[in-house]
């Protein structure tokens, strides 16, 4: 049960020290305990929580959503339906972004395919950007 200072806690959790302080500052994390000298201290449970946050971030959750997830996680009496709803909402959000990006990438590739790419100046890509719909 040795508590860690922020550096080792960062290395153990995969969340940078900078971020940990930031999360504390914005209230995502409860204020860490301190040594007499003012160093933050993290117990194993805190590191576990940090890893939870790191994973949630890796799934693209916003800090606000992570706050909800953490709350659900800390309150073990929560209903799993709530968690599922958050997860599916996040998946929907990601699917929406994916669709947007895909449309962009498709348009770009369509335009690029029509561009000979030589040294001559006529370029359907610029024309597409300048004037008509991408399908002009």
């Amino acid at each position: 049960m040795t508590a860690l200072t922020i550096g080792p806690a960062a290395r153990a959790s995969g969340v940078s020290a900078k971020r940990i302080r930031h999360y504390e500052a914005i209230g995502l994390l409860r204020p860490a305990g301190r040594t007499e000298a003012g160093y933050r201290l993290y117990a194993a449970a805190d590191v576990h929580e940090l890893r939870f946050i790191a994973r949630a971030r890796a799934l693209g959750f916003s800090i606000a959503k992570i706050a909800e997830l953490l709350d659900l996680w800390r309150n073990r009496s929560r209903a799993s339906a709530d968690v599922k709803a958050l997860a599916l909402e996040q998946a929907d959000l990601l699917r929406g972004r994916i669709a947007d990006l895909q449309a962009m990438a498709d348009t770009l590739e369509t335009l690029a395919a029509r561009c000979e790419g030589g040294a001559r100046p006529d370029c359907p890509i610029l024309e597409g950007l300048a004037g008509g719909s991408p399908g002009d």
Copy 2:
């Protein structure tokens, strides 16, 4: 050839007045002409350029890349190969982001599918976030 003030130019181009000023401030656009009273003025060619920017933004290009594209567009002597390279680079960037988001969405949906979603507190989603790999 009536020049427009920033509001009409914004409406005609689809770029907000706020953004137009911003683009000028960061050097993406050359300083607009001014009336005696200091109002910015935009000719048809300027509005055309703004629409070019709006379209490029819609394809996800960063401001820095749009600066390159604008340069290529303004310099009609450019090689279309340069434009094509920018477009394909952007498409690659988007495809990379899409892959990342897709992995996240897939993980979320996998986890959610294993979650019964009832009122009981046991939830594979939280467990996935807390501890193991998503596939645990």
